[in-house]
């Protein structure tokens, strides 16, 4: 395999590392009601929300949101009402992301 790569001058290019990417967002639209009294306040200043997608883990989300995977307990603590087991999160779950 490697021989063929060398023969054809195709050296393995290192894949770019996107592990320290930071993402965020906000909206002018209200967030869906989750039973609290505040239903129309934008989520921008009160912390973000994040919708779990396939392949996510709390540490992955912490890495993206805070740049540090070790901060996953912060997200876990803020979402104890919906996360029973920190190793089990599901696509579609909406997590609160507290300020770093």
């Amino acid at each position: 395999m490697g021989i063929f790569g060398d023969l054809f001058g195709k050296k393995d290019k290192p894949r770019p590392d996107f592990s320290n990417v930071r993402s965020g967002g906000s909206s002018t639209a209200p967030t869906p009601s989750v039973g609290g009294p505040e239903t129309s306040a934008p989520s921008m200043t009160t912390g973000r929300t994040y919708v779990v997608v396939s392949g996510d883990s709390l540490s992955k989300i912490a890495k993206r949101q805070y740049g540090d995977a070790q901060k996953w307990p912060k997200i876990y603590e803020a979402n104890r009402d919906i996360i029973k087991d920190p190793d089990l999160i599901y696509p579609g779950q909406e997590l609160r992301i507290p300020e770093a």
């Binding site: 990417v21 993402s23 129309s40 579609g92």
Partner: protein
């Protein structure tokens, strides 16, 4: 007599179609929310629209995508999926919104403290899991 015929036909049609409409798995159709505009740029204004549109970024830039939606619904999920030219998913994040009518704007942004690798990028916006549009841009 005619009245009966006219009323029976639509009812039977509704009965035939109802199971498909009710069991449709995509909530997008039920919420009445639709994506009307997607813009990419390097900064946003206070109303979350793109202040500086571009499809050519520098490594130190922050990518912004602004998604305009119209309509209302109790819950809709907007997702931005960013990918690099090699197919690698750079990031995917979502926001749940509950627009009450009229136009709303949702922004997603992405930064990389040590700079973006040069190359082509793509951001795909999904509404309730269904693609609503794609924008391509590059970093030079």
């Amino acid at each position: 007599m005619r009245m009966h015929r006219y009323t029976r036909v639509p009812v039977s049609l509704l009965l035939a179609v109802a199971p498909f409409g009710c069991s449709a798995p995509k909530p997008a159709a039920q919420t009445g929310v639709k994506v009307t505009q997607i813009d990419v740029g390097r900064s946003i204004a206070a109303d979350k629209t793109i202040a500086e549109k571009t499809d050519s970024f520098r490594p130190a830039d922050t990518f912004y995508v602004s998604v305009k939606t119209d309509g209302s619904g109790p819950s809709a999920t907007l997702t931005a999926r960013w990918t690099y030219q090699d197919g690698q998913v750079v990031d995917e994040s979502g926001q749940n919104i509950a627009p009450t009518g009229g136009a709303t704007v949702t922004e997603f942004h992405l930064s990389k403290p040590d700079g973006w690798p040069a190359g082509g990028y793509k951001v795909e916006v999904l509404l309730n899991g269904a693609s609503a549009g794609t924008r391509e841009f590059k970093v030079t």
